[in-house]
Amino acid sequence: MATTTATVSISSTDLTPGMPLSISASTTLNQTGLTTGLEIVDMGYGTLTVADSHKALHEALGAADTSNYLYLCNDATEATSYIEVVLHDTVIGRLYAGDWMFTPWNQSDGDAEWSIEAEGGSCPYAYAIYKSSYVLPDSTQGTLNP
């Protein structure tokens, strides 16, 4: 069993006048509904260009209704360059230069894939996906898979 912790700190001294903001939360990435840790991770780096259409970041290839997490960071340095993050056909939001996100992901069905697209300029990005399970896609070239 692996132990992976995800910690967030959000702070501001002047967002809400007279009430400094200091959020700190930490969680262990556990298997679905349990206290044993996730053991599968998929990490990568890449660069999106504006010429690209939406690119699949990750297909929903795991078991439905399980505990999975997505971390994604836009490493662009130009403030106007952003990554549009889409879950199947729903726009979740825009990650501007330097922004990151961390969210649970329920691979509830085959229509739960993540895709990303650069706007305003090229966007280097990094991602990590922690998963409960992983199913390889079917081979489309059966002769190579005896």
Partner: protein, 235 residues
């Protein structure tokens, strides 16, 4: 301009052969610029008593700028490992937030179009005749249509806002939604005339609303009480 920073650290000593530890910090800025976000919902907690289990609309799309650099923080405060909130963006299920889990993600907040219609007060009114809409009753104080329109405009409507131009009152829905038909108004509006009067309130223009696309919905997993901590940073 406010300065707010968000930092994530992901760490594990035994997930991989190599110890894993990385950390990223970002200032929460407005879209495409280096100035900080200045608007927030404030940090809040919502406790749901879930019998029966029902969905809860946490943030409406029209509470933030569409396609802005909005961010949402969520944390499930449950201590029971099997309890979770399912998080939806509109109809799309994003994921399950199990006990102690948190999330931080951008939010496009794509709203729909608010239904709008204009009704013009006309005909011959008699003092004491009434106009009722959205559960709000207005009693004509005199026979002047512009005055009656002003009375209607001066009321507070739970689901609509108003603007006035002479005897025409324009109603705009407070929230975007697809009602499925042009103007609930025509069905809901009622005038009570006295004998011989021909008081009217004709709908002279109307446009149907459209549904929002980004409302954030949470659904608890159990019928017992569950609490979610949440905060919206937005433009």
């Amino acid at each position: 301009m406010a300065t707010t920073t968000a930092t994530i650290t992901l760490a594990s000593t035994d997930l991989l052969t190599n110890a894993l530890s990385f950390s990223t910090t970002t200032p929460l800025s407005k879209a495409g610029v280096a100035t900080g976000l200045t608007l927030t919902s404030g940090l809040g907690r919502t406790t749901l008593v879930n019998d029966p289990i029902q969905s809860h609309q946490l943030y409406r799309s029209d509470s933030a700028a569409a396609s802005g650099s909005n961010k949402v923080y969520l944390k499930n405060l449950s201590a029971t490992a099997s309890e979770y909130f399912t998080v939806y963006i509109d109809q799309e299920e994003m994921g399950r937030l199990y006990a102690g889990d948190w999330a931080f993600f951008p939010w496009s907040a794509i709203s729909g179009v608010k239904e709008v219609f204009t009704t013009t007060i006309g005909g011959t009114w008699v003092a004491g005749e009434t106009f009722e809409f959205d559960g709000v009753l207005t009693t004509a104080a005199n026979t002047t249509v512009a005055d009656i329109a002003a009375q209607i405009h001066a009321q507070y409507y739970p689901n609509w806002t108003t603007a006035i131009s002479s005897a025409a009152v324009t109603f705009t829905a407070r929230h975007a939604m697809d009602a499925g038909t042009v103007v609930t108004a025509t069905a809901d509006m009622a005038i009570v005339q006295s004998g011989g009067s021909d008081a009217t309130a004709v709908v002279s223009a109307a446009a149907m609303g459209t549904a929002t696309e980004s409302d954030i919905i949470i659904v608890p997993s159990v019928v017992t009480t569950m609490t979610l901590e949440h905060m919206l940073f937005h433009e």
